[in-house]
């Protein structure tokens, strides 16, 4: 245990008043920076809660948007759309991300897995709007045929989901790499000593041991893409206001709805925007806190 951290301020017997004053000033400034960051968080969330609650009701969650100028209406279409988009993105990104983690921990040489880590970090740094432009060029502007299934030529839920999957992949894969590395080698050796095949060892021993951490990564990925707006704007935003479960058409989503409502000049739309923001922020913050709890618990178990 370090004696310095957490102990009361060291007695500055020899320090001159000027040095003490500089020290005190810097301590106060650092504390103020932290207070400022927390204050901004409270102000933003506070604004969303205060302004969102008044427009939020059960009808807001279950009705589709009202025609222009008509009061009421809701975001049921956007809730369904976001659910479908995030679900499809997860179905693609989570298994691939876990496979990348398995590759790093079970098969790859250190040099290869470092290169893959680097690639994932770079992918994570690609602006999401550029990912949106990419998917627009790949699946929206051109019509492609995959396994006889015609896709593209217009915006679609599929295109939006692929864009979200690309954004989700590095988050899930990096956390899978980290957590699978923590699985003790003794467990792997014990399994191999019992004569079971490698893939069974991965499926029965490695993945279950790391399950908590893998779920954390997936939840973090979901929390991140649930609020993504930029890529969906280009790939799945020109949607009907009806509730749609059909991903071959553009799907509405909560973030794009908030964006559109915030650009409107009408105060009624702003109120709807705040309420939609409240729905989204509750979802994202619950997921983030959940991921954090799972993360702490699985680390504690893996570290023993």
């Amino acid at each position: 245990m370090s004696a310095t951290t957490g102990s009361p301020t060291p007695k500055l017997l020899g320090a001159s008043p000027r040095r003490k004053r500089v020290n005190r000033t810097m301590e106060v400034l650092s504390s103020l920076a932290a207070v400022l960051a927390v204050a901004v968080l409270i102000i933003v969330i506070g604004s969303v809660v205060i302004k969102g609650v008044s427009a939020l009701s059960l009808n807001f969650l279950t009705e589709t948007p009202a025609p222009f100028g008509v009061p009421g209406g809701g975001i049921a279409n956007a809730i369904v759309g976001t659910f479908l988009l995030v679900l499809m993105a997860s179905v693609v990104a989570v298994p691939i991300g876990i496979l990348i983690g398995i590759h790093a921990s079970e098969f790859a040489k250190p040099r290869t897995s470092n290169a893959v880590k680097f690639a994932l970090d770079i992918l994570n740094g690609v602006p999401t709007i550029v990912t949106g432009v990419f998917i627009f060029g790949l699946l929206v502007a051109a019509r492609v045929s995959i396994f006889g299934l015609g896709l593209g030529g217009s915006q679609s839920g599929y295109a939006g989901a692929v864009a979200l999957a690309i954004i989700m992949l590095p988050i899930v894969a990096r956390s899978a790499q980290e957590v699978l590395r923590l699985v003790p080698n003794s467990l792997r050796e014990a399994a191999v000593a019992l004569g079971i095949a490698r893939w069974r060892m991965v499926a029965r021993v490695v993945l279950p041991t790391a399950a908590g951490g893998l779920i954390t990564g997936a939840v973090l990925g979901v929390a991140r893409v649930a609020g993504e707006t930029a890529p969906l704007l280009l790939t799945s935003s020109i949607a009907s206001t009806a509730v749609s479960w059909n991903p071959s058409q553009a799907l509405s989503s909560i973030p794009v709805s908030i964006f559109t409502l915030s650009e409107s000049a009408s105060p009624a739309d702003h109120a709807r925007g705040w309420a939609a923001a409240l729905v989204l922020i509750i979802g994202v913050l619950v997921l983030s806190v959940l991921a954090r709890t799972l993360h702490d618990r699985s680390r504690r178990r893996l570290r023993g």
Partner: protein, 322 residues
């Protein structure tokens, strides 16, 4: 391999073992190939993004060439496009935001690793992490409806009356502009940069800190002479990563910056960034040259953010291994 196992006399058992062996013979290589393919996919996606974005900007590139980078005009009616004002907006907003982000993040990291009482360290760190989790569209919504009016009515007039002689603070206050964009980018980058800075600070060896205290250093002197020099590469890398995030932010900036094709010295005036221009005009892009020009903007943004991100990763990696 032997098939007859004397300890498994039942034929059903032998059959199950044989089938299991067959499955394993397929299972092992399959898993290996799938895992390697998944890893390769990560690299392929990056290359595909670069290829598609450059491919899409082809017709704009052959029409405007590199002159696109320095042309200020953006006129869909006459089909003349240039990126200069958006490059200016991107660089100015991100660079000024980083002037606030770097010191704030370092200060927060110092507070959380050295100053804060042990009990409140984790809760405060969690709260700041949550700030990073708020979707950008919500920061933008708050920015346009709460922060921007406050800036227009209070902050900008105050800045103007005191510092109006500097061109940055000249001109009349307005609800949309570069200043709200800078504020929004700062809010979004601080939690990311301070989280990395915190990690770097925690790697500073405790005995070095104790040695400084033993020599009679105050807490600030210890921070300045021990922590900051050791953590410098990490702090620089973290700040550049934050810069990369700020450069590429589209939505929150679109909501507050005003979307003007202009190069204004005044931070109160509207402007636009590369990312924000793409986000705000893609839906209405009519005509192949217009769309291709937006791809060209995306290509510029991709190149800038790749350079910034690769540079930052290399610096952070060197800082942590050193």
């Amino acid at each position: 391999m032997s098939t007859a196992n004397p300890t498994v006399p039942s034929p059903r058992g032998a059959f199950a073992t044989a089938r299991r062996n067959t499955v394993d013979r397929i299972g092992d290589p399959t898993l290996k190939v799938l895992a390697a393919a998944a890893s390769a996919l990560a690299v392929v996606v990056i290359l595909a993004i670069a290829y598609k974005v450059f491919d899409g900007s082809d017709s704009a590139f052959s029409k405007f060439g590199l002159g696109f980078l320095t042309a200020k005009i953006w006129n869909p009616v006459t089909n003349q496009f240039g990126a200069a004002s958006f490059i200016y907006g991107t660089v100015v907003t991100s660079a000024i935001a980083m002037l606030f982000v770097a010191p704030l993040s370092v200060a927060i990291a110092i507070y959380l690793t050295e100053l804060a009482p042990r009990r409140i360290r984790r809760p405060v760190a969690t709260l700041i992490d949550l700030l990073a989790a708020i979707p950008s569209v919500i920061i933008g919504l708050w920015g346009i409806l709460v922060m921007a009016p406050f800036m227009e009515n209070h902050l900008e007039p105050a800045l103007h009356s005191v510092l109006g002689w500097i061109p940055l603070f000249g001109g009349s206050p307005s609800p949309y502009g570069l200043l709200p964009a800078i504020a929004v980018l700062t809010i979004m980058a601080v939690p990311i940069v301070s989280a990395i800075a915190r990690e770097v600070f925690e790697t500073v060896p405790g005995d070095l800190k104790e040695a400084a205290y033993a020599l009679g250093a105050t807490r600030w002197e210890m921070t300045r002479m021990v922590i900051l020099p050791i953590a410098r590469p990490g702090i620089v890398g973290a700040s550049i990563l934050g810069l990369g995030r700020a450069l590429g932010e589209a939505i929150a900036v679109t909501q507050v910056i005003g979307g003007a094709v202009a190069i204004n010295a005044s931070l109160f005036q509207p402007g636009d960034t590369l990312a924000s221009r793409i986000a705000s005009q893609f839906q209405s892009a009519s005509g192949p040259l217009f769309t291709s020009s937006l791809f060209y903007l995306a290509a510029i943004l991709l190149v800038i953010s790749l350079i910034v991100n690769i540079g930052a990763r290399l610096i952070v990696r060197r800082g942590i291994t050193a």
